[in-house]
């Protein structure tokens, strides 16, 4: 048989018979190519670049047309049919190259942002004439006159505490003073702060964007002058200890002093993030002059200490949808006491500010193409539409995809397993950990990948049952029934011993399947409500606290996202906090949110039993109706053949 020469990385040369797999040739040449899925062409991690073509690709399942065009080939699925040259890219590079990995879009300052034109918080430096025996004008008049003359602003509001301090501040700065104003109300500017001395123009003017999620609270610190995000930080909402979903929180908050306790817990969560964020930015929290907050209606009520009971009870009305701006001290947030706290408006009891802000940050209200937008969180809010129309619904998905309510779940932070592959013949997993090093738990994207891999390798059947008859000790009987061991205790940060093994249990699997079923059912009902076929949407925009990226293919394989070409998906990251950020910066964006809120049509899922029907139909991997998932059916086919 004909022999061909294969050169790896222009260094290692090997001669192999025609028809040899590139992966085998590499092994012979002593070149390491990892194959986490066991060489089945599923994971795509063995992608190499063929620089001199002498190969035939048996499968390009994990590669896009552009990838192939660029010369990429899967080493485990490509045979040598001529002399050829190959480059092996670094693993990290591969991880980011595959079309199915949708990395979260980087946060960028909105194009054309101008603090002068768009920002409602303004800072001015004033230099006043000191008083003297010939000029005995009072401090307050001297100050307001200076403001009028030097900044052209007629002050509308000042608080008593500020007026008490004014004289001392003016003297401490030797009649030079930095003024921070809120100009949102044009006719009556409000004084936020008067600080002694002058600051350089380049000194940041701090604001904060906050998303109060049912499970996760996120906070960004922003320089309002440049528009740049300086710090991003997130933590679980401390209210979790008083109930996982909004309903149980409302119930708890309605009893005894529960409302005060809930308010205290969320304020603590925000306080913790502020402290961490300010430490990183090396500032004092009192330097933050404005905070824009989004959250679902329940979270907003609990934060403000407004009774939320009516949200839960028919006819399901909130106490307030459009919250006016408040002083930080009144809300109880430890930034500058006079800072403006701006709560973004919601639409209804179960469609809150998080979704209006999400739509804003997704931009779907501003384009002609039909988008499906999903914020994957404890309440999965879904919006379908374009600039002409928007329909929305909310389905209670639970916190599983945020890593909560799952035995070894965690937030998408250092030490979390964020991607998993399972070898189809040995059932051994390999995974990637955020920040590298040993794993501590699994975050949302890791759980999603795990579910898909367990399903594709037959560890799970379509009903989510674990198969205990496989030749592996990783599927075992645990405290809560069958479980799969992702990482043995001694390989983890948690320490040696079976108690420290990182596992996914049957109960976890059920939780994840329920979460994905709830979301997919929401898609189908929403699409049905306007008679628009789900498959016909132009793009699917995914938001959520998944971490840096989401594997679209795996999300489709488990039936979380509709089966569409991968190119149609975009991962937007935490869209709610991003929406808060945009509204924090730009008064025009803030106004657009109100416009979005007024244009959305809300579909109530509990109105009839069609949601339940769609839900039970989706409680299956990927779905009871396989015709909805043609590419998954195709991916499962070869496995069925080999089983025969």
């Amino acid at each position: 048989m004909a022999e061909h020469t294969v050169v790896f990385d222009a260094a290692a040369e090997v001669s192999v018979p025609r028809g040899t797999l590139l992966a085998d040739a590499a092994r012979k040449a002593g070149v390491e190519i990892s194959q986490p899925c066991g060489g089945q062409g599923r994971c795509g991690r063995c992608a190499v670049k063929v620089t001199k073509d002498g190969v035939r690709r048996r499968s390009t399942l994990r590669l896009s047309a552009e990838d192939v065009e660029a010369g990429y080939a899967l080493a485990c699925q490509t045979v040598v049919e001529g002399d050829t040259e190959v480059t092996v890219p670094a693993q990290e590079k591969i991880a980011r190259l595959l079309t199915t990995d949708r990395t979260v879009a980087q946060v960028q300052v909105p194009t054309g942002y101008s603090a002068a034109a768009d920002q409602t918080i303004k800072r001015f430096g004033l230099t006043l004439t000191p008083p003297s025996m010939v000029d005995q004008t009072d401090d307050w008049s001297r100050f307001t006159a200076g403001l009028r003359q030097q900044a052209g602003i007629e002050l509308g509001h000042i608080s008593l505490p500020l007026m008490r301090q004014l004289g001392a501040v003016l003297r401490e700065g030797e009649w030079q003073v930095t003024v921070v104003l809120d100009l949102a109300e044009e006719a009556a500017p409000r004084l936020i702060a008067a600080l002694p001395g002058l600051l350089p123009d380049s000194a940041p003017l701090w604001g904060a964007a906050v998303d109060i999620g049912t499970t996760t609270v996120s906070l960004w610190l922003v320089d309002l002058l440049s528009g740049e995000v300086q710090v991003q930080t997130a933590e679980y909402n401390r209210q979790i200890s008083r109930g996982e979903d909004v309903i149980s929180r409302i119930i708890y908050g309605s009893k005894n002093d529960g409302g005060q306790e809930m308010r205290g817990l969320v304020l603590e969560s925000i306080g913790q993030l502020l402290e961490r964020g300010c430490r990183r930015a090396k500032i004092d929290a009192s330097e933050v002059m404005k905070m824009t907050i989004v959250g679902n209606s329940t979270m907003m009520h609990l934060l403000l200490g407004i009774p939320a009971a009516s949200i839960r009870l028919s006819p399901f009305v909130t106490a307030v949808n459009q919250v006016p701006p408040f002083r930080a001290e009144d809300v109880g947030i430890g930034i500058h006491p006079e800072a403006t706290v701006d709560c973004i408006p919601g639409i209804a009891s179960y469609v809150g500010a998080d979704i209006t802000a999400g739509v804003l940050s997704s931009g779907m209200d501003d384009t002609e193409s039909i988008s499906l937008f999903i914020d994957i969180g404890t309440n999965g809010e879904i919006v379908l539409g374009s600039h002409d129309w928007l329909v929305t619904c909310a389905c209670s998905a639970g916190p599983a995809f945020e890593g909560a309510g799952v035995m070894h779940g965690m937030r998408a932070t250092r030490g979390a397993i964020e991607e998993v592959w399972i070898n189809g013949s040995t059932y051994e997993p390999s995974f990637r950990v955020i920040g590298g090093g040993q794993p501590q738990g699994v975050c949302g994207s890791g759980l999603l990948a795990l579910l898909a891999e367990m399903f594709l390798t037959g560890i799970l059947d379509k009903g989510g049952n674990l198969n205990s008859s496989l030749p592996t000790d990783r599927v075992r009987e645990g405290e809560h029934g069958l479980e799969y061991v992702i990482s043995w205790g001694h390989e983890t940060k948690n320490g040696d011993g079976p108690a420290n093994d990182i596992v996914i249990t049957r109960v976890d699997v059920d939780n994840l399947i329920r979460a994905k079923a709830s979301i997919y059912a929401g898609f189908t009902i929403l699409a049905d409500s306007v008679g628009f076929p789900l498959e016909a949407v132009d793009q699917v925009l995914v938001g959520g606290s998944f971490g840096k990226y989401i594997n679209v293919e795996k999300a489709v394989q488990i039936g979380l996202l509709p089966d569409m070409p991968w190119e149609g998906f975009q991962f937007l990251g935490n869209t709610a906090v991003k929406g808060a950020y945009l509204a924090l910066l730009d008064k025009h964006a803030r106004a657009r949110i109100s416009d979005i809120a007024s244009r959305m049509t809300y579909i109530e899922l509990s109105a009839d039993n069609s949601f339940f029907e769609a839900f039970t139909s989706a409680l299956f991997l990927p779905h009871t109706d396989m015709d909805r998932f043609p590419t998954v059916a195709k991916a499962l086919q070869p496995e069925l053949e080999t089983e025969e």
Partner: protein, 324 residues
């Protein structure tokens, strides 16, 4: 003037399934039963004739049941103490099938054993020539042990083994697959769940012509409307061509009817409830008739008097009227 009756033409049909195997096919049954094959909604003879009438099974136990109505126990008397005798007596009522339910324990409270289960099944098979359905105790771990032993000891008989559920089906299906039997899958009154279990079972490689589905029902007055509508929708999905819903349907109106207060209790009930036995038979009969009308292919009953009445109902429904 002649009236043209509009006819529906359905793209799909129900699968035909044969229960039991004669000597020629590797079993020991003297007769087999084929169900399914419907090409139209139940008894719409003008659209398509039903190739097979619904059939009746009587339920017997591996020992004298301690949770059955005294009316049933009085009727069967001592025959209910011996499964083989009971099977013979049941066959004599003219049913097409027997359904044997295994008990969790023996009369003294000791756990049932595979040896005992095999012995009982074999004695029943020896006593009658009818195809047999063997259902487990309802406790997963026990069923997986008992039914595997039964399946192996009766290879080739085309028994129906049950009851597969979505959380426990693998062992039973594997045993049926390896030994030439059929399975019955039960799901709690939901179209999607029925379909899902059919998919799970067929994914293991068991041919679809060896799967019966039990969509579960409720007795008259205890949710039968819901069961009726689920069966109706399953049948419509089958006729519309949804391959994973095209299994013949088995339901257990005997079990459902005899656990209602109306059937179970004879004392301290309102006088207007009337005669206890009459009432209980009515209950079983009304429940079974409604289910047959919704498309049931196999009904499992408990009282021979109900068998008689259901036979009449089936014959009348199945009679093809003269069309002008």
């Amino acid at each position: 003037m002649p009236i043209e009756i509009p006819k529906d033409k359905w793209p799909g049909s129900v699968r035909e399934i044969t229960l039991g195997a004669t000597a020629a096919d590797g079993g020991t049954r003297t007769s087999t039963v084929t169900v399914g094959g419907e090409k139209a909604l139940p008894y719409m003879h003008f659209e398509a004739q039903m190739p097979h009438k619904p059939v009746i099974a009587l339920e017997i136990r591996d020992r004298l049941p301690d949770d059955w109505s005294t009316l049933l126990l009085e009727h069967w008397g001592d025959t209910a103490k011996d499964p083989a005798a009971w099977a013979k007596a049941a066959e004599a009522t003219g049913v097409e099938l027997l359904q044997l339910t295994l008990s969790l324990t023996d009369a003294d409270g000791n756990p049932n054993t595979p040896e005992n289960a095999v012995a009982v099944v074999k004695s029943v098979l020896a006593a009658t020539g009818l195809p047999l359905l063997v259902f487990g105790t309802g406790q997963a771990e026990m069923d997986n042990v008992l039914l595997v032993a039964v399946a192996e000891a009766t290879q080739g008989e085309r028994l129906v083994l049950g009851i597969c559920e979505d959380k426990n089906y693998r062992t039973i299906v594997a045993a049926a697959m390896a030994n030439g039997h059929l399975v019955n899958g039960r799901t709690p009154m939901d179209v999607n769940l029925s379909k899902q279990l059919n998919i799970l079972i067929s994914d293991m490689g068991l041919p679809m012509d060896r799967i019966l589905m039990d969509p579960t029902t409720g007795a008259l007055g205890y949710g039968i409307e819901y069961g009726f509508s689920v069966m109706e929708r399953l049948r419509m999905a089958a006729l519309q061509g949804d391959s994973m819903t095209q299994q013949p349907m088995l339901v257990t109106p005997g079990f459902e009817a005899w656990k209602t207060k109306e059937s179970k209790v004879g004392k301290d009930v309102p006088a207007e409830w009337g005669d206890w036995l009459k009432r209980a038979i009515h209950w079983e009969t009304m429940t079974a008739t409604a289910l047959i009308e919704s498309g049931a292919d196999i009904v499992v009953l408990r009282h021979p008097e109900s068998v008689k009445r259901i036979r009449v109902a089936i014959d009348e429904l199945s009679a093809v009227p003269e069309m002008a």
